[in-house]
Amino acid sequence: MDIIVCLKWVPDTSEADLAIAGGAKDIKKDDLDYDINDWDRFAVEEAVQIKEKVGGKVTVISVAPDDAEEMLRESLARGADEAFHLWDDAFEESDGFAVAMILAKFIKDRPFDLILTGTLADDDCCGQVGGMLAAMLGVPSAVLVSAIEPEDGKVKFRKELEGGLYEAVEMDLPAHLSVATGLNEPRFVSIRAVRKVASVEIPVLDREELGLEESQVGSAGSKIEVEQVAMPPEGEGAEIIRGRAEEAAARLAEILKEKGGIG
């Protein structure tokens, strides 16, 4: 089973204090730490586990600037067999559609049974590249997937619906699946494992090598454009209880008691 996993390199914004950049088209990213998108970590692990079970090859790819080599190398240490780094300065400001186009261009002449992605990216929260890529390659697609079981020429899996409901689904291969978080436990990667793959070459492919026109990438190749970003207005919503932890906790305890929160 040949599996291609698409990874995204994202700023960690979950706990960080965010600020709007000049021009108000994006946030300030200089001080943020970058890492593999949380959902994608599960996708790499799933690919490696499937390979360990049924054999085959795992290829990881990413459309991301130079720093992301670290993520690709760590994926090799996790058990991926090869990595490709797709980058060109012209790829800056690509939206989901343009990124899917770059990935599709790389994948279209390669044999694959399964493409795995994460369901959502923590930065743009769009959840679209996987499904777009599948359509560009002409294969069926599903998101929020777990319990993946490849069989001969098809794959069975569980798709998460709402309210604790799932559906069991069967799909013809080749196919694309976006994984749900928590479908596996990503393994710990030791420093030794990373050292072992330190000398593995990770080819970097630019726009021309991928056979893409300038009009297909970056903002020119994008279908949508962020015109403005803003922090939601502060002071909306909760009454914030101020003071030292003990004081605030004491006040909160009283509110809870008053509202029936102590049973």
Partner: protein, 326 residues
Amino acid sequence: MMTHIFVLAEHRRQKLRDVTWEAVEAGRKLAADLGSELTCILLAGNAAGMADELAKECPKVLVVEDPKFETFNSDLAIKSLVAILQDKAPFMLVMGNSNSVMDVAPGLSVALDTALATDCFAFEVQDGKPLAFRQMYNYKVNAKVSFKDAEKIVVTLRGGSFPFTPTGAAGGVVEKIASPVADEAPRKRFLNYLEAEKGDVDIASADIIVSVGRGIGDEPDMEIFESLADAMGGVLACSRPIVDKNLLPKYHQVGTSGVEVKPKVYLALGISGAFQHVGGIKGSPLIVAVNKDARAPIFRVAQYGIVGDLNEVVPALEEKIKELKG
């Protein structure tokens, strides 16, 4: 040419889903703002009842009846929507951002060559062109998005952002069309529904819930939270990352993909408040949050909040609650 508005109706087990009505509401408003018409598309195994219900709220309902649509089949939905919409430009297709539609929207946008904005919570029309509002960066930043000069647009909607008001007065026309996928052998096949495993706690029926999220850290001491829940006479619940890390079983997970809860009091500890989580606590009359990030979206749905360190606030809170109980 007026931008025609289409809405995809979603159903499960022969019943229209709430997301459908929210999409009708958003579609109605867009049609009014753009001075255009609204058409609802229903792909169903058996449209009886559902088509009539839609016609009460929508001036036109297009119905495809095909046994393959008894359950949601994204692959065939894409093919059908392409057949229905390919010559309808300029148009805008509105769908709920449900877990099923997440399988449809991106692929459809490629197949129909449309611009796509997912999970939108509001729209604005400027110079006759729609603009979408959505969130980015862990749902902490609002973004205004343009579709450039696209004549074909697909949008999906954030649940709860377009509360539906029934009018019952549309007197819509129902038009049946032949199934565009009548001869298709489906590449994707529904097998059966599966319910999540039930556990020893039923958080759906709890009056008091203490819920923990990512903000409790990578190696949290779960006992301090259990102990607080005990002191309050409540149960312990959590958001998705806690289940992903195997700190609590799935049946403790609150949210649209977990359990929807309606306690009298919901205490959210270290929960940022992503919409999937907030969607599961909508019915709770009192939401209280403790988080170290003053910008966490949870504070926008909570009535009271403390910005602070859980390791300090939680033990202090438990002590104070024990005092008050006497």
